[in-house]
C-alpha cells in the first residue's frame, strides 16, 4: 500500500517537475519558434505563429546586417578572461578565509556579498569617468576587469563554501611534510578542489556572458559583445520581432550548448553545502 502511494507521489512529482521545466524553458522555445517566422507572422496571435509557414529569412537578415563573429569573440574573451582573472584572485582569498579565518572573516564575506546588493546604475557615472580617464571605454581590457570585479564576490563565496568542505587536516599534513604555502595551494588544495573550481568557473562564464548592464554601457563599436548585438535588434517602433528572436538564439546558443554538456558540474556548484 505504502509502495502504491509512493509510486503515485513519484508520478505526480515527475509530472510537476516536467511541467515546471517546460514553463522555465518555454520563453526560449518561443524565441526559437519566432526566429523562424516572417516579421508579419511573428507578431500575430500564438495560434497564427504556430500555424504559419517557417523561414530562415530572419537569420539571413541578421547575418547580413551584423558582424556576429566579432561580437561572439568579444563575448568569449571577456567571459573567459574575467573568470580566469577572478579565479586567480579568489582561490587564495577563499583559501585564507576557509583555512586561516580571522576575527572579521565573516564580516569581510558579508561585505563582499553586500556589494552585489548595490544597483549597478548607482555607480555607473563614477565608473564611466574612471574608464574615460584611463582610456578603458570600449576596450576588452576594461570590460574584462569590470566583469571580473562584479562577479568576484560570487566566485569567492562559492570557492569558500567548497573549501570549507575539505578537511583542514589534509592541508596540515602537507604543511608537516614541508609544503610551502604556494605548494599547499597549488599541489594539495587545488587538485582536491578542481570540481568546485570548475563549477564556479562555469557559472561565472555564464554570468559574464549574460551580463547586459555594463557591457552595454561601457562599450560602443569595438568591444561590444553579444548583449549589444541583441540590443541592436530591439525596437518599440517597427517590426523586428523575428530578427530580435534570431539574434537572441544566435547569442544564447553557445552558452546553452556549454550549459548542456556541463550541467552536472553546474548543479554540483549550485548545491554546495545544501545538504549536510
Amino acid at each position: 500500500m505504502a509502495r502504491t502511494i509512493s509510486s503515485r507521489q513519484t508520478t505526480v512529482a515527475t509530472i510537476a517537475a516536467w511541467f515546471l521545466a517546460f514553463l522555465m524553458f518555454f520563453p526560449i522555445l518561443w524565441i526559437v519558434i519566432l526566429s523562424f517566422k516572417t516579421e508579419g507572422d511573428a507578431i500575430g496571435t500564438p495560434f497564427h505563429v504556430l500555424t504559419s509557414g517557417w523561414t530562415t529569412e530572419a537569420y539571413s537578415a541578421v547575418q547580413e546586417r551584423s558582424d556576429y563573429p566579432k561580437h561572439f569573440m568579444n563575448s568569449v574573451i571577456i567571459s573567459l578572461g574575467s573568470t580566469f582573472l577572478g579565479l586567480l584572485i579568489a582561490v587564495p582569498a577563499a583559501w585564507a578565509m576557509a583555512f586561516v579565518p580571522g576575527k572579521r572573516t565573516k564580516d569581510v564575506l558579508m561585505w563582499m556579498l553586500s556589494t552585489k546588493m548595490l544597483p549597478p546604475v548607482g555607480v555607473l557615472v563614477p565608473i564611466y569617468l574612471i574608464f574615460r580617464d584611463w582610456g578603458l571605454l570600449d576596450t576588452l581590457t576594461g570590460l574584462t576587469m569590470v566583469l571580473m570585479l562584479i562577479n568576484l564576490p560570487i566566485i569567492v563565496w562559492m570557492l569558500y563554501t567548497y573549501f570549507k568542505e575539505i578537511p583542514g587536516e589534509i592541508l596540515e599534513a602537507a604543511r608537516m611534510d614541508g609544503a610551502s604555502l604556494k605548494s599547499e595551494i597549488l599541489y594539495v588544495l587545488t587538485p582536491m578542489a578542481v570540481p568546485g573550481i570548475a563549477s564556479t568557473a562555469l557559472l561565472n562564464i555564464i554570468l559574464a556572458w549574460n551580463e547586459a548592464f555594463w557591457t552595454l554601457n561601457l562599450t560602443a563599436a569595438k568591444a561590444a559583445p553579444l548583449t549589444a548585438f541583441i540590443a541592436s535588434y530591439s525596437s518599440p517602433e517597427g517590426l523586428f520581432y523575428a530578427k530580435l528572436s534570431a539574434a537572441s538564439v544566435m547569442a544564447i546558443a553557445p552558452i546553452l550548448v556549454m550549459g548542456w554538456f556541463s550541467q552536472k558540474q553546474l548543479v554540483r556548484g549550485l548545491t554546495f553545502g545544501a545538504v549536510k
Binding site: G40, L124, Y128, A221, A228, A231, S232, S235, P236, E237
Partner: protein, 436 residues
C-alpha cells in the same frame, strides 16, 4: 624600366598605406528602425566619396540608445562622433553646449529646404544643432471599407466628435473589429505622447506660464475622460498594454477601424507583404476640437555632433551626406520612393514621383500643422508638442503615464489619476526649482 616600375609600385603602396593610416573612423550611435538600417546599407556611397573616412555603427533600441548617449555626452566620454537624438534632447543639450552648431554645412546642403516646423524643433535661438534624418507627426489611419460600411465619410481634417462617433459605429466586438486603437502602454514616449498631443487639442497644457502644473484643470479632465470612454466603448481588449507595435499588429490584421499614431506607420500598413488591409487604408489629419489645435505630435530622429568629438569636420561631412537631398534620391533609386525617409525636406514633397506615395501629402500636412513653440491653445513656457523640453520630463511623464494607463485599465478613476499627476508634477517642479 624595372626601376621605374619598382618606384611606381612603391609609391602606390605608400599612398595606400598613407591613406589607411590617415583614415578617420567615425563612430555613429543610431537607433534601430527601418530607415536607419537602410542608411547603414547605403554607406558605401559615402565612403566611396570620402575615402579618408571609415564608419563604425552602434545600433541600439531607442531607450537604450538614449541612456547610452546621455551618459556619454554628459561625462564627455567621447565614445561617439555622431549621435542620433530626437527633438526632445536637442534643445536641452544645445543649451548645455553639448552639441556643435550645424549652420555651416556647405552651400550645397540647402538648409533652407528643411521643413520649417522640423527645423524650428531642432534649433535654439535660430541656430540649427541637429540635422533631421526623418521627421514624423501623427495622423489618423483608417479602414475605408469599414468606414463605408458604417455609412460615414472621413473628412481630411476630422473632429474628435466625428472620430468617436465613427469608432463606435465601426466596432463589432463579436467579429473582433474595434473602432479605434490608441496607445495605452505607460511611458513618456508611449501613452503620454498621444495623450499630451490629444490634450493640446482639448486646450490643456502641462504648465502655465509660471510653471504651475495644470492637471487639475477642466481640459485635462475632459481629455482623460474622453480617451477612457472611447477606448472602453470602441478599443481593443488589453489596450492599457498596447504600444506602437501592438497596435500595428492589430491594424495590419484587420482588427482596428482607425489607428491614430506616427505617420511613419503609413508605410507599414500599406505594405501588402505584412498588412492584410494594405489596399483599404485611408489617411486623415489628427482630430481637433474646434479650438485651433490638432492632436498630432512632432518628432524627428536627427543626427547631431557632440562638442567633445575630435573629428568634427569628418562628422559634419557624414551628417551632411545622410541628411541631404542627394541621399533621398539615393534611397529612392535603390529602395523605391515609399522607403525614402519622410518629413525632412520640402523639395521631397514637391517631387512629382514622391507625390504618388499615398501617405505623402497627409504626412507633410500633419507635420506642418504642429508647432513646437506654440503647442496648445494657451501660451506655455516650454518647447515641445508631445513633450516638455526640460530634463525632468522623462521621469515625470513616465510616472504620470503609469497613472493614466491605470485609469484606462480601471484600476483608478480619472480624478485620482489626475490628482496624483498634479501632485507628482508639483513636487518635481519644486524640486527642480521651477516653483518657489
Amino acid at each position: 624600366m624595372k626601376l621605374n616600375a619598382g618606384i611606381l609600385t612603391g609609391a602606390t603602396a605608400l599612398t595606400f598605406l598613407a591613406t589607411a593610416v590617415c583614415a578617420e573612423t567615425l563612430t555613429i550611435a543610431t537607433v534601430n528602425n527601418g530607415d536607419m538600417v537602410r542608411m547603414q546599407k547605403l554607406t558605401n556611397d559615402f565612403t566611396s566619396k570620402n575615402p579618408g573616412i571609415d564608419l563604425e555603427w552602434v545600433t541600439l533600441e531607442e531607450n537604450v540608445l538614449r541612456q547610452r548617449v546621455t551618459t556619454d555626452i554628459a561625462t564627455k566620454g567621447g565614445q561617439y562622433d555622431v549621435m542620433t537624438i530626437g527633438t526632445y534632447e536637442v534643445p536641452i543639450w544645445a543649451k548645455q553646449d553639448w552639441l556643435i552648431a550645424l549652420n555651416d554645412m556647405g552651400k550645397d546642403y540647402d538648409a533652407d529646404d528643411i521643413i520649417p516646423a522640423i527645423r524650428d524643433g531642432l534649433s535654439v535661438d535660430g541656430t540649427l544643432f541637429a540635422a533631421p534624418f526623418y521627421g514624423e507627426s501623427s495622423m489618423v489611419m483608417y479602414r475605408k471599407d469599414l468606414m463605408d460600411d458604417a455609412g460615414l465619410e472621413m473628412p481630411d481634417a476630422p473632429s474628435w466628435e466625428f472620430i468617436a462617433n465613427a469608432a463606435r459605429e465601426m466596432t463589432d466586438k463579436d467579429a473582433e473589429v474595434y473602432g479605434i486603437c490608441l496607445r495605452g502602454k505607460a511611458g513618456w514616449g508611449e501613452n503620454m505622447a498621444l495623450l499630451t498631443a490629444t490634450a493640446n487639442s482639448f486646450g490643456a497644457r502641462w504648465f502655465d506660464m509660471d510653471w504651475k502644473p495644470q492637471f487639475d484643470t477642466k481640459p485635462w479632465k475632459d481629455t482623460l475622460d474622453f480617451y477612457i470612454d472611447l477606448m472602453n466603448d470602441a478599443g481593443p481588449p488589453g489596450a492599457p498594454s498596447n504600444g506602437f507595435n501592438e497596435n500595428l499588429s492589430l491594424f495590419q490584421s484587420g482588427k482596428c477601424g482607425m489607428w491614430i499614431d506616427a505617420t511613419v506607420a503609413a508605410s507599414f500598413v500599406t505594405n501588402p507583404k505584412d498588412s492584410k488591409v494594405a489596399d483599404k487604408v485611408g489617411f486623415a489629419l489628427a482630430p481637433d476640437n474646434g479650438l485651433g489645435k490638432r492632436g498630432n505630435w512632432l518628432w524627428a530622429w536627427s543626427l547631431a555632433i557632440p562638442s567633445g568629438t575630435e573629428k568634427a569636420e569628418a562628422a559634419k561631412k557624414f551628417v551632411a551626406w545622410a541628411t541631404s537631398k542627394e541621399y533621398l534620391a539615393l534611397v529612392a533609386e535603390n529602395e523605391g520612393w515609399a522607403n525614402v525617409p519622410p518629413g525632412t525636406r520640402t523639395s521631397l514633397y514637391e517631387n512629382p514621383e514622391y507625390a504618388k506615395v499615398p501617405f505623402a501629402k497627409m504626412t507633410l500636412e500633419s507635420i506642418n500643422s504642429a508647432d513646437p513653440t506654440k503647442p496648445t491653445v494657451d501660451p506655455v513656457p516650454y518647447v515641445g508638442v508631445q513633450f516638455v523640453a526640460i530634463p525632468e520630463f522623462q521621469g515625470l511623464a513616465t510616472a504620470i503615464g503609469q497613472q493614466f494607463s491605470a485609469a484606462l485599465a480601471g484600476k483608478v478613476s480619472s480624478e485620482q489619476a489626475l490628482a496624483t499627476a498634479q501632485n507628482l508634477a508639483s513636487r518635481e517642479m519644486k524640486r527642480g526649482g521651477y516653483l518657489k
